[in-house]
């Protein structure tokens, strides 16, 4: 969603003590007062077995249908389930929704729903002062407190700072299900939907989409139980004295059109399907399961009706190799992975560079090095994507900037791959992959369409003859009569492609491969500068940090600060106007979720004294972190 935005206003509803509820609401009916607020951020937190991701997702879907702008951030614990009730096992899901344009899941939640003491302990520091914390009081027992690292009851200390709402969720949930023949364990598993129902009531969200989903997912008593507690949660909100009023967030004033909620991984998978349709050739995906990229494989495996062939390979190398084989055979080939997998694929990708075959490589980056923190986000594979292969092995690198942009970037990646006959890397990240936003569904007829041409004419066919404009060699696929030829990893003679060890030829080919990638600048649109096109400070970022950077810069500009921003979707080659833009600012700040990789590239390429704002905590930037640095640089520079 792209509109300049105001600083995040604090939600007023929870900080101010209301009149005692019984005076406001003498009877259960008519309904309680409904207050309007502009935006709210809620974090659902619980044990990884508590279904917090599902609760968050359902709340998000309903919020999307309510017409708010939104941004979500699921924060998963490590994949291997930690002991129940422990800090390591806490799973969180934050949703920020608004009647205005928003781009981040919000720095601080206004409401924290904590289903156990560990969830409280792990998240309370993030809650804004005066915010509301809703806890399951049944879970605040001695043992759970101990597991969460609390010495005693933490709640008395919280009441000064926050509005603490204690609800015996476990008991209420069991009570609602007492006549159903389900085990207590099964009943307790429904309590996240009791909580969801309560939150639906509190923020006046429609429940229909969740009920529809339950009906497709469950049957019999389990369906009945979930539906019942969802409604029981709503009813509890309506009748309890704990909540004197409920809230509503008006529909966002956003660009007209049809919207859906979408995560980065889903958009990326659909972008691949769309590329197949728009380029008119079949898709082949070679992949090996890896967090956080596996969902792309799962999603694409569902769409054989689009002619999509997915191949779950025996390892990352085979996934890349099979994809390159498919590209040689004329398919739109893609391989998806995360950092460790990218490194395993690099030798094969080098072969695609050498044989000049179109291949799209997707790296959904995660915190590293090595196995690192697989469920946590990072942007630290940029240099690996650019330079992680042996010898001079240039290839284009693109990065989407929002979950929805993952769709568009895949079509672009395939277009470049086939137009220039080159492998292309797309760098997504764990944050983009799993977070979601409302996405204006593009008009299919207006999507870019490219005709893919295979070489067919055997007359004067040379496997490495180059197109004058793009330097691409012909895509001559098996099955085409008269075009039999051999390609491989050995250096090829210019034009003929015959194996050659001649010194001058090798140098020439190294240059041609580099020049070909450099020419992609002719396909990159002019760089958009957010704010004034010259001035004191330019903040420049890439990938999934777009929301936080643009929000921080827009806030600062509204406060009169001399700052602009640029967000790069093309990391190699850089847009041709980038050097010129950089030269128009006195200072350059590069916020990245790595130790300064883009900063290093900008310095090397443009000799600008770019400074780094580095964050490597496995977490996305908060808006205020960037804002603070902007202010520091501007006050030091003036």
């Amino acid at each position: 969603m792209a509109q300049p935005k105001k600083p995040i206003k604090k939600v007023e509803h929870v900080a101010q003590p209301e009149k005692p509820a019984d005076q406001l609401e003498p009877a259960a009916l008519p309904k309680k007062q409904v207050k309007q607020v502009e935006h709210v951020a809620i974090r659902f937190a619980g044990d990884s077995g508590d279904g917090m991701q599902l609760t968050g997702t359902k709340f998000t879907e309903s919020t999307a249908l309510a017409g708010n702008d939104l941004s979500t951030f699921p924060d998963f614990p490590a994949e291997i389930r930690a002991p129940a009730g422990s800090l390591a096992g806490v799973s969180g899901f934050q949703i920020h929704f608004s009647s205005e344009d928003i781009r981040t899941p919000a720095d601080e939640p206004d409401v924290l729903v904590a289903l156990n003491p560990a969830a409280l302990h792990a998240n309370i520091a993030d809650l804004r002062a005066g915010g509301m914390v809703i806890i399951n009081s049944d879970a605040f027992t001695g043992k759970n407190l101990e597991r969460a690292g609390y010495d005693g009851d933490p709640l008395p200390e919280l009441v000064d700072r926050y509005r603490v709402v204690e609800i015996p969720l476990t008991a209420l949930n069991r009570e609602a299900l007492k006549d159903l023949k389900l085990s207590t364990r099964d009943k307790d598993r429904c309590k996240n939907f009791f909580t969801l129902g309560l939150m639906f009531w509190l923020y006046n969200r429609p429940i229909d989409s969740t009920v529809r989903w339950l009906e497709t997912k469950f049957r019999g008593d389990v369906l009945e139980a979930n539906k019942r507690v969802l409604k029981a949660g709503m009813h509890f909100g309506e009748t309890t004295e704990l909540f004197p009023a409920s809230f509503t967030v008006p529909k966002a004033k956003i660009q007209p059109g049809t919207y859906r909620n979408i995560t980065g991984n889903q958009a990326l998978a659909w972008g691949i399907i769309a590329a197949g349709v728009q380029l008119g050739r079949p898709i082949f995906l070679g992949a090996y399961p890896i967090t956080p990229a596996s969902d792309i494989l799962h999603e694409l495996a569902r769409y054989r009706d689009f002619g999509v062939k997915t191949f779950q390979a025996e390892d990352e190398i085979a996934a890349a190799s099979a994809s390159i084989g498919a590209a040689f055979a004329g398919q739109l080939a893609v391989t998806t992975t995360s950092g460790p997998g990218l490194l395993l694929k690099q030798e094969a990708i080098g072969l695609a560079v050498m044989t000049e075959l179109p291949l799209v490589v997707v790296d959904v980056q995660r915190a590293g090095p090595s196995t690192g923190m697989p469920t946590k986000t990072e942007q630290a594979d940029l240099l690996a994507a650019l330079y992680g292969r042996n010898s001079d092995s240039p290839m284009p690198v693109l990065a989407p900037c929002t979950p929805g942009d993952c769709f568009a970037i895949m079509i672009e990646a395939f277009q470049l791959a086939v137009k220039y006959m080159t492998p292309v890397t797309v760098l997504s990240d764990g944050y983009l992959a799993n977070s979601s936003e409302p996405w204006l569904i593009p008009d299919v007829d207006s999507l870019p369409r490219t005709e893919v041409r295979y070489r067919e004419d055997p007359e004067n066919f040379l496997p490495y003859e180059r197109d004058a404009e793009t330097l691409a060699r012909p895509w001559a696929i098996p099955g085409t009569k008269g075009l039999e030829h051999r390609i491989g990893g050995l250096e090829s003679e210019e034009n003929t492609g015959t194996v050659s060890y001649l010194p001058e030829n090798h140098e020439r080919m190294v240059q041609l491969r580099a020049e070909k990638v450099a020419r992609i600048t002719q396909d990159i649109p002019p760089t958009e500068v957010n704010g004034a096109d010259h001035g004191e400070l330019l903040v420049i970022g890439w990938g999934g940090t777009y929301g936080a950077i643009s929000s921080a810069v827009n806030e600062a500009r509204e406060d009169g600060l001399d700052v602009s921003s640029v967000h790069l979707r093309h990391l190699n080659p850089f847009p041709s106007d980038l050097g010129e833009i950089l030269s128009r600012f006195r200072q350059v700040l590069v916020p990245e979720l790595n130790a300064g990789q883009l900063r290093r590239l900008l310095r090397a390429e443009f000799l600008v004294p770019a400074e780094s704002l580095s964050k490597v905590q496995g977490q996305p930037f908060k808006v205020h972190e960037i804002r603070t640095r902007i202010e520091q640089m501007l006050s030091a520079g003036s």
Binding site: A64, A318, A322
Partner: protein, 342 residues
């Protein structure tokens, strides 16, 4: 794809214009010649033929074939071939690999490609040495082999390619010899006719780094005793007249029985070769026959039917198309919950 070639092809149609550069006397020459000889007999238009290789002496092979060819990276040829064949079942795909390429660095891909049973031919040239890197012991080298990297003798226990292929669930497994032209050609025909992954171990001589490794099998005179020639439905007999022997397999354990010239092998307990045996344990028993205790089985060890990966993949595509019709991008993007802002 392109229409079939009309004029009958000749051997020379499959010869590329690149000079062949193996060491003089290398077994690869004979294999190349035989493959070029067989190709026109298969009736496949040469534009539909793809040779895929990894790295090693044998992996230079595609350059010498005037077909489509892809010389890929070390050990991964079966994975590249998988992508080609899974996406283009109209192509005739041949993988050429060696004992280092296929069994060491590429062992994983070999196993998994075989288990998926893609319809392709995998030719593993086994010379029991690394040739391209100039003479280190390989995964099939005999224990104690002295090489540049094992001056005191190799302490690796070797792997048997046939047993490995069988363990991976291979539907077609054969062994042949570089210089035995008729047998090599017949085996290639059989492999090509088989629907599924055909794995052929070709015993190949490297005169430079491991000369005469297979001499007793390559030499016609010694072959009679050193090889167990497999014929489907025929008893497992070997040895010259006057010294005939047979293989008995009891409880999966093979042993040698001496036969008089007039003896009926079967009534003496000699096993009858059944390449389509429902149980792979018979083939494993054959695979366990090793020199010098036993003759080395030469021929088709196992040939059974199983659906191919690419056929099942295509069937899933067809099923999805039949059930849902061709994918509609607009419908996909609008599927599930959407809302409209006026």
């Amino acid at each position: 794809m392109a229409a079939a070639t009309t004029a009958p092809l000749k051997t020379r149609d499959f010869v590329s214009d690149l000079d062949v550069r193996w060491c003089p006397g290398c077994g690869d020459y004979s294999i190349l010649k035989n493959i070029q000889k067989v190709m026109p007999e298969l009736g496949v238009p040469k534009e539909n033929v793809v040779f895929v290789s990894g790295i090693g002496c044998s992996s230079r092979f595609p350059y010498y074939m005037n077909t489509f060819g892809f010389h890929t990276i070390h050990g991964r040829a079966p994975a590249f071939a998988t992508g080609i064949r899974a996406s283009r079942p109209d192509l005739s795909v041949w993988v050429v690999t060696g004992d280092g390429d296929g069994l060491s660095i590429g062992g994983n891909h070999l196993i998994h490609t075989i288990r998926r049973n893609l319809n392709m031919q995998i030719l593993l040239f086994n010379n029991r040495v690394y040739g391209l890197t100039k003479g280190q012991y390989s995964p099939t080298s005999r224990e104690g082999m002295r090489s540049k990297s094992s001056p005191q003798g190799s302490i690796d226990h070797p792997i048997d390619p046939i047993a490995l292929a069988l363990a991976a669930g291979a539907t077609f497994v054969a062994r042949t010899i570089d210089v035995d032209a008729p047998h090599l050609q017949a085996t290639l025909h059989r492999a090509h006719a088989h629907e599924g992954t055909s794995f052929i171990e070709i015993l190949q001589n490297c005169p430079v780094y491991n000369d005469n490794e297979w001499l007793e099998l390559e030499d016609r005179k010694t072959r009679v005793s050193a090889a167990l020639a497999l014929e489907h439905g025929e008893p497992l007999v070997f040895g010259p007249k006057g010294d005939r022997k047979g293989i008995r397999i009891h409880d999966g354990v093979p042993s040698i029985i001496s036969l008089g010239d007039g003896d009926d092998p079967v009534s003496h307990g000699v096993a009858t070769h059944n390449e389509a045996h429902h149980s792979a344990s018979y083939a494993f028993a054959l695979a366990s026959l090793a020199r010098p205790e036993f003759p080395l089985p030469i021929g088709v060890i196992r040939a059974v039917e199983k659906p191919t990966y690419e056929a099942m993949l295509q069937a899933q595509v067809d099923d999805a198309l039949e059930a849902r019709g061709p994918g509609d991008l607009k419908a996909l993007l609008h599927s599930g919950d959407t809302w409209t802002v006026e």
